[in-house]
């Protein structure tokens, strides 16, 4: 019989080591030492994983353990006894498989980012009753009011009603009655400047500055409101909430060990890219409404020109950071303008 492997046995009750010899016979591990002869089923033992160095420690049921200070001797013995490595252990000990794991990790993360998160968010949001959207929307509106980001509108009631009526009619011409989103248009004076926001639940906020900016262009205003309706119809704000949570959870798994601050960065950057995607979808809905009402999508160029002029004027009054596109929640104006123009040309060719 070949000599067994020399190891130390600890019974789990005292810290005294007993020198033993190990051998596998018929699926049982024989542990033989000074006044000791144990036989333990191989399958019941918690075996150590192969490593490049360090000691090997096996755990027995009932608190006992086996320690071997020579990893090389243990690994050779384990191989001879037919105790194979799992795939995980083989991957951990091979650079080739580890590089394969890096490639697989990058592929999995890319798939998760491109398809997994958006699809999961759509499914999860479908499970959330619409009443939750409305409740979240109310909280957001309350916060905007409390922090004095919005204040009662100075726009005359007749003008507000004129916009509401025109928009309701335009929506009526675009979507069939069953598919028509509910309309809650609210006007507020706001420090946000010329802007329109879609809150979860369907309330659309239009700032007074936006109404003034487009006072002479009802067609452009319809395009702006249709863009916001696009966000409402697809529940973009609820989906954004779910997406940022999912991204944060995965980034936390990957980076949480090192730094919670760093773990937040991919979540924020990723959400901004998703947000740009939402804006494009909303622009598509805007194009749809404009076309259905016989307005060329090209009129939206007017919006971007006026907004740019306005932001230049504001930039002179107050300095602000100019963030690169990776940090922006909206696509660049030029890209969006091109999109509306391309839609206008397509439309004219089709007609």
């Amino acid at each position: 019989m070949p000599p067994g492997l020399e190891a130390d046995y600890f019974d789990g009750r005292s810290a005294r080591a007993i020198r033993v010899s190990l051998r596998v016979e018929n699926g049982m591990l024989r542990i033989v030492g000074d006044a000791l002869d144990l036989s333990v089923p191989v399958a019941s033992i918690d075996w150590p994983e192969r490593r490049s160095r360090g000691v090997r420690m096996a755990h027995l049921k009932g608190g006992g353990s086996l320690h071997c200070s020579s990893g090389v001797a243990w690994d050779a013995w384990a191989r001879d006894q037919g105790l194979g490595d799992s795939l995980v252990v083989r991957a951990q000990q091979s650079w080739r498989l580890a590089v394969g794991a890096i490639a697989a990790l990058i592929a999995v993360c890319a798939a998760f980012y491109l398809w997994g998160v958006p699809v999961a968010a759509r499914v999860i949001v479908r499970l959330v009753p619409p009443g939750v959207d409305a409740r979240v929307g109310e909280i957001v509106l309350d916060t905007l009011r409390d922090q004095e980001i919005v204040a009662p509108s100075a726009i005359e009631w007749e003008q507000q009603e004129r916009i509401r009526t025109a928009f309701a009619a335009a929506v009526g011409r675009t979507w069939p009655p069953g598919d028509r989103p509910a309309l809650h248009l609210r006007f507020y004076e706001s420090a946000l400047g010329a802007n329109a926001l879609a809150l979860p639940g369907g309330t659309i906020i239009v700032t007074d500055d936006m109404v003034r900016l487009l006072a002479d262009r009802e067609d452009v205003m319809l395009g702006v409101l249709a863009h916001e309706i696009g966000h409402v119809r697809e529940r973009h704000s609820m989906r954004a909430l779910v997406q940022v949570s999912l991204l944060g959870a995965v980034a936390g798994l990957a980076y949480g060990d090192y730094s919670a601050v760093l773990a937040g960065v991919p979540a924020v950057l990723g959400q901004m890219a998703y947000s740009r995607d939402f804006e494009r979808r909303a622009d598509d809905e805007s194009i749809r409404l404009l076309r259905a009402n016989g307005i060329s999508p090209e009129v939206m160029a007017m919006l971007f020109q006026r907004l740019q002029a306005e932001s230049h004027r504001r930039a002179k009054e107050a300095k602000h950071f100019d963030l690169g596109i990776a940090l922006a929640s909206h696509p660049a104006d030029e890209e969006r303008m091109r999109r509306f123009q391309a839609a206008a040309h397509e439309g004219s060719m089709a007609r």
Binding site: R51, Q92, I139, Y255, D257, F321
Partner: protein, 380 residues
């Protein structure tokens, strides 16, 4: 049997050196495989990954020539992981539904925290062994609530402040805004100044209940050094910010429009380095303070972790982790463990072999199984 690296000293005192033999290259491969499996199983593999990591770090930590071992079972830890995950989800969603639900969830989670900490301390120590002997955490669950009870004061102060500042201004029963504006910084300052005391109470509980065989540790420290240390850490943070963040920001002046994105990114980078420096300073000083003052009847610890080399290591790690988008992390983790562990020595007033023969564990099962109940494992 491998010789024990005990250096006989005067009388019967023996010093056991700590050595860390883990390698960055090997841990990188373990980490990347673990990460892949954790992500494709949507996190369910996490406990298995954690056990493998702890076994790697324990198994490469030699105390007097004998490695530590970790015995936690992934299946039990999965339960604890799911429980903790459910609490976090509950808390984050409750806050989004309504402030009231958020408040209730906060109170519910906060009332569980001491029990969770107690369970985690018990679990970690009951599953750590040296020379075949399990360690123990001897603290009680009541002790955990007592140690953390004082934290109610600053939390109540901050919550009360948030509630007052969130209430409507035109209500005549509420104190006027100006009084609130003066009181607010004072309340925050008061809450902050209590933090070292809270921390000391918790560490006294943690380091006062470590047990191995018949030995049971206590922390021979009052709250004073914790206050002194928090001032020093704040000082290091301010100096580092001036040098790396505020100074450069003022020098550049944020004038050049084209350069702004880069300036902003550099400032964020600088801020991360500031965090690395002050964090490393705090960690090194705290480790020395805590472990050099933790002792049982016959076992004493000494930690001599020098601040400057440790800060240098932390800066290198931070820069390389950021530049490699996180792939340097396993190298950083092993290098950090090596420097921190090898700064510690264990002093025994009796020979290790003699101590080993008298350690008996006969009354184990029930007590240690309780540590496994939820398998909660939180890193300390």
């Amino acid at each position: 049997m491998e010789e024990i690296q005990a250096v006989p000293q005067t009388g019967t005192s023996h010093a056991l050196e700590l050595r860390f033999t883990g390698s960055g290259n090997e841990y990188f491969r373990i980490w990347i495989v673990n990460l892949l499996l954790t992500i494709i199983t949507l996190g369910l593999y996490y406990p298995w990954a954690r056990v493998r990591r702890l076994r790697y770090f324990h198994g490469n930590t030699l105390v007097g020539g004998h490695a530590l071992d970790f015995h936690g079972e992934p299946k039990k830890m999965l339960r604890g992981f799911l429980l903790a995950g459910a609490l976090v989800l509950l808390y984050s969603f409750a806050g989004r539904i309504s402030p009231l639900a958020g408040g209730v969830a906060f109170l519910a989670v906060a009332s569980f925290v001491p029990a969770l900490l107690w369970a985690a301390l018990r679990f970690r120590l009951a599953n750590t062994s040296w020379r075949g002997m399990r360690m123990r955490f001897a603290g009680t669950i009541g002790g955990a609530y007592r140690a953390l009870a004082a934290a109610v004061v600053p939390i109540a102060l901050l919550v009360g402040l948030g509630w007052l500042s969130g209430s409507p201004t035109d209500d005549p029963d509420q104190p006027p805004r100006t009084a609130l504006a003066i009181a607010a910084p004072l309340v925050v300052l008061l809450a902050l100044s209590l933090a070292p005391l809270m921390f000391w109470l918790f560490k006294r509980y943690q380091h006062g209940n470590l047990a191995l065989g018949e030995e049971r540790s206590r922390l021979g420290l009052g709250p004073g050094p914790f206050f002194a240390l928090s001032f020093k850490v704040a000082g290091v943070f301010v100096l580092a910010s001036l040098a790396l963040n505020i100074g450069p920001a003022l020098a550049v002046g944020l004038e050049d429009v084209r350069g702004r994105t880069w300036v902003l990114l550099l400032l964020v980078f600088g801020y991360l380095i500031v965090l690395a420096i002050s964090g490393a300073y705090a960690t090194s000083r705290l480790q020395n303070l805590l472990w050099s003052n933790t002792a049982s009847a016959r076992i004493r610890f000494r930690s001599a972790l020098e601040a400057l080399p440790y800060i240098r290591l932390a800066i290198t790690n931070a820069v390389l982790v950021i530049l490699t988008l996180g792939f340097y992390w396993p190298y950083a983790a092993t290098a950090t463990a090596k420097m921190r562990l090898e700064a510690v020595t264990v002093q025994l007033d009796v020979s290790p072999d003699e101590l080993a023969t008298e350690w008996r564990r006969d009354d184990d099962a029930a007590g240690d199984a309780a540590g496994d109940l939820f398998g909660i494992d939180i890193g300390f």
